[in-house]
């Protein structure tokens, strides 16, 4: 494990293929190749050279680009699998997932569910895949960026002949009027914004070195992005709640520690109207029947004043009125409230008239607030109605008893006791929507249904995400890195005097076409020949493939 000292005097780390300073080939088998491998400047990738302990073995595993690519490919395939059927979060909540998949997609759906693909993206193995990519990003980058930095820093102007000869662009010209040619070349190199270094009459012109750092910059961005994703799991960083709020209702906003309250003044649903909206839309509106134009909740945001504990009537101070629309959330502190769903026409009040079944004579009306019914409604003149039982979301259970499924008045039903002067004991009637049962025989009176009053309910998403800025930062750095690596090229041109000849070699990390054109302009009328593309020549000789 000794360092390698090159003929030129530079000391290279063990495993170096090309001397960092002069480019001389240090590895024997590399000498047989027609062109040198310039990928990492022939630097010593440490991971390849130390492989003793378990730590080194793990390190080397993740340091391999091959492993990295496999991880990417496996993640890619796994991600695709998750789109075959909808994920659990997107299935309608009509039945449990284990039933739904089989019901909708048959045995394939059942298999999908049993393999856990219905929740693929939060499964432990998918997270592990993404995490492995993250680890691979860190280790691959560390393992390459340091040697690359060393090599690019240590490079000398004068390069070994063997190095120049084995560059893809390489040419030899006879040296005549060298002074003059050099001046012309340098002039043109400067015009092309090359950074020029000279040493013993040799030239190294270089530009765009910073594009070599592009991949590492974008990897840093990705790592920051992944850290942001990871922080989401830290309690308090991320809030995802749904808040259902009726028109007219004031409610505490979840996760704000009882600090903020919201009042829903009104929910609005608008659809496009063929006659009112732009004429060009009329065909589309006709074809699809109804196209939603706007979902909006008009709300008032309140902040609690002073200290109060949960359950106490808080003293509220208005913060602002706002209209929450899709694409226009209401923001306060770190929170945002989004218009995400709604329920139209939830029953709110029902009106009945106490009626004589025979004569149809009415003895007064009563309106029941379905969210807060009273026990007794006095209609005057000795007539009154008692609510014996109330089922806001009525159904019959297995034993035939009336029960309620929830507290929401989706299907209200009542047991009324009608007290009248001629029936002072009262008559009992079970009243549900389109259904009346008289359990104790034929009644004289009935509760005639008169009308309903409804309210809309807004479904708002309460969101807090303190990781957003980290994720944005990661995304920004990633984009900078990708652009840096993609849109700039690292180009180098070496010109060296060897005896009576001028050797020219060129290297670029990509876009050889551009480098060739540039060299041809630079060397035009200088007496130095354009270097040949040795790869292309090789291809031509071997017949094109």
């Amino acid at each position: 494990m000794k360092d390698v000292k090159c003929e030129c005097g530079h000391v290279n780390p063990h495993g170096t293929i090309l001397c960092e300073a002069c480019g001389r080939i240090l590895e024997e088998h590399e000498r047989e190749k027609q062109l040198v491998d310039m990928r990492y400047e022939g630097s010593a990738r440490r991971s390849q050279t130390y492989n003793k302990t378990i730590v080194d073995k793990i390190w080397n595993f993740f340091s391999s680009v091959k492993v990295g690519v496999w991880l990417i490919v496996i993640t890619l395939i796994a991600s695709a699998l998750g789109t075959i059927f909808p994920q659990e979060m997107y299935i309608p909540p009509v039945m449990p997932a284990e039933v739904y998949y089989e019901d909708q997609y048959g045995w394939l759906g059942k298999l999908y569910y049993e393999l856990g693909f219905h929740n693929l993206y939060s499964s432990w193995w998918y997270l592990l895949l993404v995490a492995s990519i993250g680890i691979s990003l860190v280790i691959c980058s560390l393992d390459r960026v340091i040697p690359l930095y060393r090599a690019l820093k240590a490079q000398r102007v004068t390069r070994h002949e063997g190095f120049l000869k084995r560059q893809r662009l390489f040419g030899i010209s006879a040296a005549e009027n060298l002074e003059e040619s050099y001046e012309k070349v340098k002039e043109k190199l400067r015009e092309k914004r090359y950074h020029i270094r000279e040493e013993d009459g040799n030239i190294l012109a270089e530009k765009g070195r910073f594009s070599r750092w592009g991949p590492y910059v974008n990897h840093i961005g990705l790592i920051i992005f992944l850290i942001g994703g990871m922080l989401r799991f830290v309690p308090g960083m991320y809030v995802d709640e749904v808040m259902w709020i009726r028109e007219g209702e004031t409610k505490v906003i979840p996760e704000t520690d009882g600090e903020y309250y919201l009042k829903n003044d009104q929910f609005i649903l608008e659809v496009y109207d063929k006659n009112k909206d732009k004429e060009v839309f009329s065909e589309a509106i006709e074809n699809s029947g109804m196209v939603a134009k706007n979902f909006q909740s008009d709300v008032t945001l309140y902040k609690k004043k002073g200290d109060s504990i949960a359950g106490e009537k808080p003293e509220l101070e208005k913060v602002k009125d706002d209209e929450i629309r899709v694409n226009e959330p209401l923001r306060f502190e770190n929170f945002a409230l989004y218009q995400s769903t709604y329920k139209l026409n939830e029953l709110n009040k029902m009106t009945f008239a106490l009626t004589n079944k025979q004569t149809n004579e009415e003895f007064g009306m009563l309106t029941v607030d379905l969210n807060d019914p009273k026990e007794k409604y006095d209609l005057g003149n000795g007539y009154s109605v008692e609510v014996v039982s109330y089922f806001p979301d009525f159904e019959f259970d297995e034993s035939g008893e009336p029960v309620t499924k929830s507290r929401i008045p989706n299907n209200p039903a009542f047991v009324f006791k009608m007290l009248t002067p001629d029936k002072p004991e009262g008559e009992v009637s079970f009243v549900a929507i389109r259904q009346t049962i008289e359990p104790f025989g034929d009644n004289t009176y009935k509760m005639a249904f008169k009308g309903i009053d409804t309210k809309n309910v807004s479904g708002l998403t309460v969101r807090k995400d303190l990781t957003l800025w980290i994720i944005s930062l990661g995304g920004l750095i990633f984009m900078i890195g990708v652009a840096q690596g993609s849109y700039w090229n690292h180009r180098r041109i070496w010109i060296r005097k060897v005896n009576d000849e001028v050797w020219v070699a060129g290297h670029t990390n990509k876009n050889w076409h551009g480098l060739k054109r540039e060299i041809s302009i630079i060397l035009e009328n200088t007496g130095i020949n354009e270097p040949e593309d040795q790869v292309q020549n090789e291809n031509k000789e071997s017949g094109g493939s």
Binding site: G134, M230, F233, V234, G258, G311, V388, P392
Partner: protein, 174 residues
Amino acid sequence: MKKKRLMIRAVILLLLGAAVAYTLYANFTKDDVQKAVVGEKAPDFVLEDMNGKKHRLSDYEGQGVLLNFWGTWCKPCEKEMPYLNNQYKQFKDKGVTILAVNVAESELAIQKFADRHNLEFPILKDTDSQVMTAYKIGPLPATYMIDKEGKIVKYHTGQLTEDMIKDLMEQVKP
């Protein structure tokens, strides 16, 4: 030199491994992130019962409290009500009480339910769901056991048997 490299590698791998392990762990426990955590002080609240009397949780310090969240439509809640009622009678003189918080139902619905089951313990009305939100109640019934210092010692969702209730109440007896 070699030692140093090994150390650096080990530390980096360890850090990465720890981050991954934490993420996996957090991902699988995220569903039961509680607002009211066992071992910590129960969030205070004040609610009215059916007779209009105010009950403040912190006023019960010095006693054990079984705090039960329920709804009339919830079958398991209904099943455990008679057991709660029985144990309430057993324990009320031993310094353990029951506070049953109904989640935002109408007074009528609660009253009819309470009459039907002859419930004697105080039933608190959380009309605008403030307390429910503060405790981040999910599925019902949800039961918290609070000791005489006002600390939560136990949390349970789902139906309780009479033996379980008795056992729980023993635990918070002052």
